[in-house]
Amino acid sequence: MPRFLARRVLGALVILLIISAITFWLFYAIPRDPAMMSCGKNCTPENLAQIRRNLGIDEPITFQYWHWLVGVFAGRDYGGYGYCDAPCLGYSFANREPVFGTIMDRLPLTLSLAFGAAVVFLIAGIGAGMIAAVKQGKALDKIASSVSLLGSSLQIYFVGYIAMYFLVAKVGVLSQPSYTPITENPAAWFSGLLLPWLVLSIIFTANYTRMTRSQLVEQLSEDYVRTARAKGLSQWNVFFRFAWRGAMGPIVTVFGIDLGTLIGGAIITESVFSLQGIGRLALQSVDQSDLPMLLGVTLLSAGAIVFFNIAVDAVYALIDPRIRLA
């Protein structure tokens, strides 16, 4: 296990390095000058050059990238901003705020959104899938299957606004989406995020229902499940310790991918509910040609996906003893 982790973390670092280099290169491939955006109306060539120098984009790309990389690992002296400690992701072109700090400010919301929704869609999706699998071909199965099909065809920007209109504005059973840190006021944190969680879950739940159902149906017809029954074990025991154990693998895999994606920012959800998370930060940074911010957010998203991939492999090995980590 430790060797596995060491190897995978090293691999992850290489991946992130490559991703950051590609992002750098792609950014400059766009015919758009970030200096122009902050230069304003009466932009003289001298001003433009000055801004370029201030932003540090007057150097060749390779140099810029090297300096950025050194900053990440060792910190760097940042001209007018003073010294920036490692991990230094630089300062935003748009509002001069430190990138690392901004991301850390936004991350709790995105994490709350992702994990909260995950709890809802895992319970709802797996629960419905289990019921559907047990009641194969019966009315409950058909209801679960059709509801999940309906759910998977909905879109957040559609359900989100409708839910907000009815549940918040008209009926008032849910409060207006907002973010309060859980450390400040857990109740406000919960009620402020409940609607986004539910809406975000609708789309994911369907996927987990279908996956759980099909995996379980397959596992329940496996020989080893039949053997477990032949031994006289109770139906619950057979279902959870045998069939569910076998069904878990693919679900864990997809969950890892979903969670990684969600931590990279639920862009649409955050936009619909006016939440200032990582997703909107990403959107803004693209919009404002804010290279340092864009790099920071990209690395976070990529890092989250890579991290959950490693986690999935480790969990897989816990579920299935036939898999050996090396």
């Binding site: 194969q136 071909g137 496996e222 020989d223 080893y224 039949r226 053997t227 477990a228 029954r229 032949a230 031994k231 006289g232 074990l233 109770s234 139906q235 310790r241 045998f242 154990r245 076998g246 579920i319 299935d320 003893p321 036939r322």
Partner: protein
Amino acid sequence: MTSTEQQPFLSVRDLKVHFSTEDGVVKAVDGLSFDLAKGQTLGIVGESGSGKSVTNLTILGLHDRHRTAIDGEILLDGTDLLTSTERQLERLRGNKMAMIFQDALASLSPYHTVGTQISEVYRKHTGASKRESRTRAVEMLRRVGIPQPDIRVDDYPHQFSGGMRQRAMIAMALVCDPELLIADEPTTALDVTVQAQIMDLLKDLQQEFGTAIVFITHDLGVIADIADDVLVMYGGRCVERGTKQEVLRNPQHPYTLGLLSSMPSLEGSVDVPLNPIPGSPPSLLNPPSGCRFHPRCAFAEKVPGGLCSTERPALDVVDGRGSACHLPMDQREEFFADFAGSRHH
């Protein structure tokens, strides 16, 4: 069968197992009866799809209850298994009646150690502690001949060889000293040496505990080795039954004869071609009329009036010996001798 004087331990009466599928009703077992006494071994022979495995899954109640229509009676030591609840069956399975499956790799859970899989049966049925049942699992592994059982008990099935997995499966089936053991082609996937060891093991265990064994196979050689009585199934029905000697030495049904003549003989020349039964197993969705074997039977034309294709032959059993064939009893010997003779021309 051999012990008609006492109440049979296992008694199957007119068992019918029908599955409903998208294409229609599959008559997997269609009116099967047999008895089995304690300490005896019944060999059930038949091609794939003849209903032999379905019969035994039904005895344990492992069929899909929602899709299966069952009729008839299965009495185990006086208890009707077909009317028992799932709970009652759970208490019997693994305890009073146990099953050894064919493919041990697929039939053992890949997620649990061999020891856990054996000891959980023991714990469930005896209420023994974890430690006691583990000791019992080690003892069982030793008994079935697993080397270093106290170490191997913590292995997973994939760390075992094929023969060891089959032994572990047997240990699992026998951990509660079942009175009825159903072995569904337990040696088919194994090489001949291991097969022989496992057969010896089953025989030893039967002698020790007086277990009644139902042994399902399509291998007549295995039947000759282990069975006391033989039941030949074709298309969901019993076509012939009797003692091992009666059925193998003096087959009364053309299908049994066909099975025997399709086996290579050690005495004859190796150049004699094998004599397979023509045609393929019947569709149970739309089985042949009358005798289900008649489309493949070499003797159907010898029965006057096309009786074979119109009327189901009755299985008349006298003293456990019987066969379901329209061919007049006194003519069979002559016809069958001709058939056997025609092999060697």
